[in-house]
Subunit: 387 residues, 4 copies
């Protein structure tokens, strides 16, 4: 290995983070001036949350370290302890790897462990996807990550301005767009779904007839209202079931309350045995985008509706508070948690067709932009607020 | 215990934090609507750092929990691990205590453990002394604490404005002044030193003749330049030694590099055996203020020079980058690390006498203000950035 | 509280441990010379493993501290980390509680955390149920617990002799019998089942007709062969299903591999939808014994078959290596993991009726014996091997 | 690297452990069928305890991982927490290294972290120096390590018999002698000290005239009596000082109470300024043996007096309970803690000259024996007690 290659350590702690960074991982790996040090940790190692580690390895990335760190309980107390445990372990990992920069992604609760482990060890910290606004604990974590980070690679202009208002040096705040859009671009021109989801991924539930159009559903528990998770998911389940439209439903990732959500799904399946819903735990991220691209619409509160769907022009029904205040394209329609509201929106959008492509979250080359910046930008680990 | 008393959990992790919160602890303890839950942790439990726990108990406060959490090594790696360990343990402590609000103090590296443990468990977090500006890792920690906190009780107007610019709700940002000024006020009218420091506290080094005027020195390692700690302290040691003025020198608290500092002090004592310096590890905080009040000046980089000394009108020579950009009164004179510079400032200030009292950090009733606010303010654990 | 009461700290980390200590908890709580400090931790706090904490509270015991400590993953790596985390946290708990003695129960992997936390802090350590022999990692943990403990309250003569052969002071090794037998004694004379399990506990699966006789099944994964867990459980599921006898099936507790087991159960239910099996997650321990008492037989590898069933005279089919080398009464029949073997044994025992009561694991007053010993025995935390 | 080389992971957590394993490390490194994975952790990384890591690197060994894990406080509580932290971290290290066997050394409190991390992950565990007997917490740790280990490489016949009595499979218990004797053998034939200790190592204290004969002193705190550590060390300091014989005094390693010991030494130096004692923190292990070899005698409670000195024929005054019940050669004389007793023994032995070489702890080829065994022995991670 050449001595002048910068070692860039990326920590992936959850399935959704992987999709948001994959094209950047590839670009870092291929860049002549960079060396990728990939750490896979947290729920990315766990079968219950779709074991992202398998997808990562299948995509040709090798982890230099793996770290189990998720405490059982899925409640606020175990979230905090998981973060503490991760902080201790990741500190050790960075100490032994000696990276030139560390990348922390977005705003899940455990991402602050990566941030602190790097910042306290004077390793330049790069934060991906800071500056956005939402309504839950993520809000605190995201902006705290910003205050710990030295370099901010944000995914839209709105976010760039907000990070600068937070007192960061404008030269260190760059809008690269979101790498998740790069993946969307890869499949944006596919004319039809090139696989049969039921055959390729199995899953559970009825053998739905999806060929004439289908919904995709992905609804995460909202951390700060975690006892309501079960109620919320049941409302959406009823709405989707009542619509009668064939639907692919994806299990949520780990979070306080995911048990409430999982419970709700399991109970509904057992009691209602819905005719039109098929459930998946996890599928290949690109296949997921293909499925989205050819769907009638996305329903739930995943950021995929705001990001990838805006680029793909797929209608998205955004439920509840989770994506509140995020920058949104015209493809997004907001609703509350009630089944009637949700069902009404489904009916309204059904048959409306696609929106035109929006590039508010990037135009599909974010991964390369990120790698190029990492190869050139001044790496420093100290800063002072701008005002 | 009455059911309508709010349980306020205060976590003290280091000796200096105790002085900055003591009058508020007293006011909380005495307030009819509040119940104090005091947690003593980190270096506050360690003899090497002056065992604040003993002073705390002697002042009549009882800890409901104690937590050992400091890893040996005093380097950036162990600072990060200490924080992770503290986060795990404090999470458990809060989970079992179920406080209505948690107070985290200032900006030492481990204070973010308190912040995360509270924020993730949806316990309203009160941050004392946010919004200030300095030049080291503290800068990152302090503003990250702000982004995790719900209520901000700042110590000056400059800080209040900065916290608001950081996007916090102005109604939740209140300038209470600094509780450390309350202690200064207690002894501000003493006419003379009412104890003999050598007799009362022992310490090591020569039996200096302090009665006709003396210096006080307190210089901490600057975390982010920790290998230079030894060099820095030696420069100051030479300057103070060369001044020939009787001096009381206080050991620094735990921080990455404090070993460099300690080493420097020990080596200097062994080799130079200075005639005019007497060393103390720790003394009662009020006695420390008395000593300051009647001194010729304070030398070093302690925030005491900026805060308590501004109220007491004691000249302070502020060395190096540690207090850079803090709000300062006219009593503070800045210098670099070189012995010549320091010695020149000592000579310049020697005999100049006192400054008049400044109230930029409060007028001596911050503790009561804090308690009153805690008894009345809306306690909430969710927020959204203001822009 | 009287000053001369010994504070006895009992740590319960799993559902099965609670049944094995419950009568002793009661006796300690009621003893005039003892004060109970109950700590509930680990999987005893988790819904997935039957939340023993609820049963404990309902039985009138109050936890002085609760500790989340189970890492997700259910594999050997997370078992070890869980133990490390538990060790750190329980150390803190004991440090703050200052008990006169700590009780650690049996041989689950995390029990050694309790042992080390007490032993290293020079707190006399009482080990319940040492000296037995089995075939898995439990074997290492159990005897290591013995070497860390000061006082050994064993549950049978065979165990007492083995602990003494391990070099322990014979005066500190006392056969108290197993407190789990005390519970069995409470319900041993019930003439019929006094509740309807389906109505009282719900559960999932078919509404079986149990009134004319039923099986009880409880099979845990065998830690050291954890990839085989799924295969093993499927064999037993087929055997029980093929028997056609109405059966109550209980989910296993947390262990490496329990996911394999859970997976097996879930898959079998989904695919085979067995007519004669009803599944429970957790029921009140006394109700469980009542259910056992009136069953045709117990099937699986739970130690309940060896202990409580020997006293109750209930036939037990013991599958595989988990209970290998344990002291067994005549009620126990051993088989391998194959469905044919298991089915053959079921047929063989069906209709054979009860065995007579065996007292090899005690005669039902172990809890009181334990409390009396704890009140009187010399408490010391140092020892030397006897040879 | 050849696929058929066994990966042997050795964890060194303290300076003394390194001397006890060094020749085995060399033999493992050179063995064609073995690959060394060296982990350096705990106090071996800390300057305060002589930073063994530097010596290790200078000897040509490269650490594949380093782990900070020592909590500050040096008391029973921090010992337990250090062990928990080490367990979590070492689990992760082993998980990522995937060794074929792990070696844990002797009986310091933190060695059980290595044992559990390996045993729970089903990695065959090799315990070096089990089966011995002493009087403190080490006693519990050592025998617990034995019960967790699969292969026992003991250092004398007495130990071999004891491990077998503890129920281990005799085929897995092998007397290899102690690798520390290999180092002693290397320098056993030196005719004179080939370096000047004062020039080569500096140290602090008077410039003693050692050329005509000198004492070596090394006294560790006895963990289980840690408040007495200061008293004990002061007694020995007075005895050595009163003897008037030039003496090299070595600082103790990390342990609960070492602060008491360090304090005692520092106070004594400050107040008494002894004419005949020079203090060292750490020297190269071979140089330490050379110093011993040519000394009049060793004083203290280090196991070096029992092991290396028996081979070298150097008289050893063994103070107090720490080495009680260890197998001892005729070179060892026991005394209590009182200065009069110690001084009397010093006078008695002074001028008596050497003892003849004893091989009770091996004849100097233990390292190679250990490597050869590790290359051939069946590696398994499950066992059952022999009775």
């Amino acid at each position: 290995m050449s001595l002048d290659r910068r070692k860039i350590c990326v920590v992936i702690t959850a399935r959704p983070s992987y999709s948001r960074i994959k094209s950047a991982l590839q670009a870092i790996k291929e860049h002549p001036k960079l060396e990728l040090q990939l750490v896979v940790a947290g729920s990315a190692l766990l079968d219950r949350y779709g074991n992202a580690a398998d997808f990562i390895r299948n995509d040709g990335f090798e982890a230099v370290a793996k770290v189990y760190m998720v405490l059982e309980g899925e409640n606020p107390t175990t979230m905090a302890k998981t973060t503490g445990l991760g902080l201790m372990e990741l500190t050790n990992v960075f100490y032994n790897l000696q990276p030139d920069a560390v990348i922390t992604i977005a705003d899940r609760f455990e991402t602050i462990a990566t941030s602190i482990a790097a910042a306290y060890q004077n390793i330049p910290l790069v934060h991906i996807q800071g500056g956005e606004v939402t309504g839950s604990i993520d809000e605190k974590v995201r902006h705290a990550n910003t205050k710990l980070a030295d370099i901010h690679l944000v995914s839209n202009e709105d976010a760039r301005e907000r990070v600068i208002r937070l007192g960061e040096d404008p030269e260190m705040v760059i809008n690269t767009g979101c790498p998740s859009i790069d993946l969307a671009k890869e499949i944006a021109n596919d004319e039809a779904l090139n696989f049969n989801p039921l055959e390729k991924y199995g899953g559970v539930g009825k053998n739905i007839r999806w060929q004439d159009g289908y919904l995709v559903v992905m609804q995460h528990p909202v951390t700060s209202e975690y006892e309501k998770a079960r109620t919320h998911i049941l409302e959406t389940l009823h709405a989707v079931s009542d619509s009668g439209i064939p639907s692919f439903w994806f299990w949520p990732n780990v979070d306080a309350g995911s048990d409430g959500t999982s419970n709700g799904i399991r109970t509904f399946r057992e009691q209602e045995n819905p005719e039109n819903i098929h459930f998946f735990k996890n599928i290949d991220p690109l296949d997921f985008l293909r499925l989205l691209k050819h769907s009638k619409m996305l329903i739930g509160n995943s950021s995929v509706g705001i990001r990838e769907c805006s680029y793909l022009g797929v209608p998205a029904i955004d439920i509840g508070s989770r994506q509140q205040r995020r920058l949104k394209g015209e493809n997004v329609t907001h609703t509350g948690y009630k089944r009637e509201e949700i069902l009404a929106k489904i009916k309204e959008l059904n048959g409306n067709g696609r929106f035109s492509t929006s590039t508010i979250y990037g135009n599909g080359n974010s991964g390369k932009k990120i790698a190029n910046i990492l190869a050139k930008i001044e790496l420093r680990s100290h800063k002072s607020i701008q005002y």
